[in-house]
Symmetry: C2
Subunit: 334 residues, 2 copies
C-alpha cells in the first residue's frame, strides 16, 4: 500500500526522495521551527491544535525552505549568473537571502502594491529590486527581460519542483515533532506549499488528511477542484496578499489528487484568527498565515461531516511578515 | 568549588534542590518554551543571542512556573481554602490558572490601573477579582481582608520560596536547551524571577554571568545594589507596568550576592526592543518582557568593559501580555 502510494507520487514534480534530499541540502541553513499549542484555542476549536510556527523561519516565512533548496541545487556555473523571480514578497525575500548565503546575485521583480515590510526584507537581504505593475503579465514580462539581460536562472515562486520539494520539508519536520497528527491545514495560493506538504505527509502516513485553506475572494483552487481543471480568476478580492496567485501546471495535479478538501473562509474570519494568534499564541502572523486557524474555526469546517473525526490537527502558520500598523488597522476595521 | 557554592545557596529561600523539586512538580502543567534566535538581531547586537520565549508559557508569562509550584506544594487541607494574592497582573492570572487546575478557589486583588488584557486573563482562568487602589498599601490591606475572611493561603508574587523555586526552573530548562550560555539577562522587579534563575544557573555553572535589566524610572534594585541595602522608591516612572515592584527580604540577599550587575535602560529603549521583537522575532512581548533585549542593545551594556567577553547571551522574554493597541501606541509615541 505504501509502496504503491510512493510510486504514484513519482508522477509529480516532487516525491519523498526529492523532499528528503531537500531536507538534507537545506539543513545547515534553515531553522527547525517550534510547534506551539494552546488549551484556550483547543477549547475554542474543540480539537487538539498544533501550530507549526514558520513565522519563525528565516525571513519570517516558510518560503526560505524552497528558496534555499532551489539556490543550493544550482551548479556553480548556473549559480554564478544569479537568480531572478517575481513575487508578492515572502518568496522574494527568501530567495534574496538564500542567494546572499551562496554569494550570488538575486534579481527580484516586485509589484508596486507589495507590503512595505516585505519589500524592506528583500532589500535587507541584498536582493536587487526591480519594480513591475501589479498584474501578473507585467511581472512575468519584467522577469523575462531580466532573464535575457543577465542569464540568471528563473526560480518561480511555486511552479518549480525544487521549490515544491523544499516546502515539503515542512511536513517531514512537523510529523517528526507531532507524530499523532491526523489532519494538516495548509494555506493555498499557487500551491507550492501544499503540494510539497501533501506529497511528504502522505508518503509518511497515507491516511493523513490534507486540507487547503483559501480565501473566499480568491477561491480559484476550490473552483478548480470542483470542476476538475485549473480555473484562474480575472479578479481576486481578499485581504490576504499572499494568497492571490493561481495554481500552476506542476502544483495542480497534486492539489487535484492529494488534497482532500478545500475550506474557504471570509476575510473577517482571517482577521479574527490573526487576533487569536496575537492575543493567545503571542505570535505575529500575516493574513495569509492565519488562514489555517480561520479554517478550523469556521462554520464550514464544523459543519463538514467528513471532518468530524479530525482530532489532532496541524496548522501551518506560514508567515509573520505583517506591518504592525496593518495588523492594527485590520483588527479595527472588522 | 561547586560544593561550596551549593552550600552557600542553602542560605537563601530557594536552592538547587528546591528548584529541581519544583521542576518535577510542575512538569505535567507547564510548557517547555522554545528558544528563538535571529541572525539579524545577532548582527545588531554583535553577540549571539538566545531568546527564551516565556511569552509562550501558559498564561503568556513565566509566572505560571512559580504559581503552579506554590499551588501544588499546598497540602489538601490548605488547598481547599484557596489562595489569595495581590498582583499587577501576570502572577494573578498564573495563580488563577494553577488554582483552577487544582480545583481550588483563587482570590485576586488587582489594582484599578492594571492593563485590561491582564485582568481579562484572570477572569478567563476563573480567578475572583477583588479591586484595590493602585498603591501597595491598599493592595496589601485588601489582600489581608480576604485572607481573614476565607482562610486562604497568601501567595506573594515574588517574596516566597515556592515562587522563587518555581521561577528558577526556567534556568534549568534554558541551560539544558543552550548549554553554551555564558550570560543571562533577566528583567528585575520584585526579584522573584532573577533570584530563582541566579540560584539555579549558578548551581549548574558557577561561572555564568547573571545580569538584571531594570527601567531607569524604577531603578530601586540598582540603587539597592549600589548602597548595599534595600532601597524602595516613593515613586516610579516607567512604561513597563510589570517592573515597578520593590525587592523583598527573600529576594534581596540573592540579588545582592548572585546578580553580577544591573543594566538600567530608558523606556524608549524598551519600546524599540518591543519593535524588534515584533518585526524580527515575530513575537508579542510586553514592555517588561522586552527589557532584556533593550539592555543588551543599550550603550551602557556596550560600554561596560566587564561585559566585553559575553558571547552567548540568554535573554528572558518573560511575558507577552500586551494589548495590541498599547503596543501600537507605544511604537507611535516614541
Amino acid at each position: 500500500m505504501e509502496d504503491k502510494s510512493h510510486r504514484e507520487h513519482k508522477k509529480y514534480a516532487a516525491d519523498i526522495d526529492s523532499i528528503s534530499k531537500a531536507q538534507a541540502r537545506i539543513k545547515p541553513y534553515v531553522h527547525i521551527t517550534p510547534v506551539l499549542s494552546s488549551e484556550t484555542l483547543n477549547s475554542i476549536a474543540g480539537k487538539s491544535l498544533f501550530f507549526k510556527c514558520e513565522c519563525f523561519q528565516k525571513g519570517g516565512a516558510f518560503k526560505f525552505r524552497g528558496a534555499s533548496n532551489a539556490i543550493f541545487s544550482l551548479d556553480d556555473e548556473q549559480a554564478a549568473k544569479g537568480v531572478v523571480t517575481h513575487s508578492s514578497g515572502n518568496h522574494a525575500a527568501a530567495l534574496a537571502m538564500a542567494a546572499k548565503l551562496r554569494g550570488i546575485p538575486s534579481y527580484i521583480v516586485i509589484p508596486k502594491n507589495a507590503p512595505k515590510c516585505k519589500v524592506e526584507n528583500v532589500k535587507r537581504y541584498g536582493g536587487q529590486v526591480i519594480w513591475s505593475e501589479a498584474n501578473m503579465q507585467s511581472r512575468e514580462e519584467t522577469a523575462n527581460k531580466v532573464l535575457h539581460e543577465t542569464g540568471a536562472t528563473l526560480v518561480h515562486p511555486y511552479n518549480d519542483g525544487r521549490i515544491i520539494s523544499g516546502q515539503g520539508t515542512l511536513s517531514l519536520e512537523f510529523l517528526d515533532q507531532v507524530p499523532q497528527l491526523d489532519t494538516l491545514i495548509v494555506p493555498i495560493s499557487g500551491g507550492g506549499l501544499i503540494s510539497g506538504v501533501a506529497i511528504g505527509a502522505k508518503s509518511i502516513n497515507p491516511a493523513i488528511r490534507v486540507l487547503a485553506a483559501e480565501p473566499k475572494g480568491a477561491d480559484d483552487a476550490a473552483q478548480s477542484k470542483a470542476s476538475g481543471r485549473i480555473i484562474t480568476l480575472a479578479r481576486t478580492n481578499t485581504i490576504a496578499d499572499g494568497l492571490r496567485a493561481s495554481l500552476g501546471d506542476l502544483t495542480w495535479p497534486v492539489v487535484r489528487d492529494l488534497v482532500d478538501d478545500i475550506i474557504t473562509v471570509e476575510d473577517k474570519e482571517i482577521v479574527e484568527a490573526m487576533r487569536y494568534c496575537y492575543e493567545i499564541l503571542k505570535v505575529a502572523i500575516e493574513h495569509s498565515g492565519a488562514i489555517g486557524l480561520a479554517a478550523v474555526l469556521s462554520d464550514s469546517f464544523k459543519r463538514n461531516p467528513d471532518l468530524k473525526d479530525a482530532r489532532n490537527i496541524g496548522i501551518m502558520l506560514s508567515g509573520g511578515n505583517v506591518d504592525l500598523g496593518v495588523l492594527w488597522e485590520s483588527l479595527n476595521n472588522r
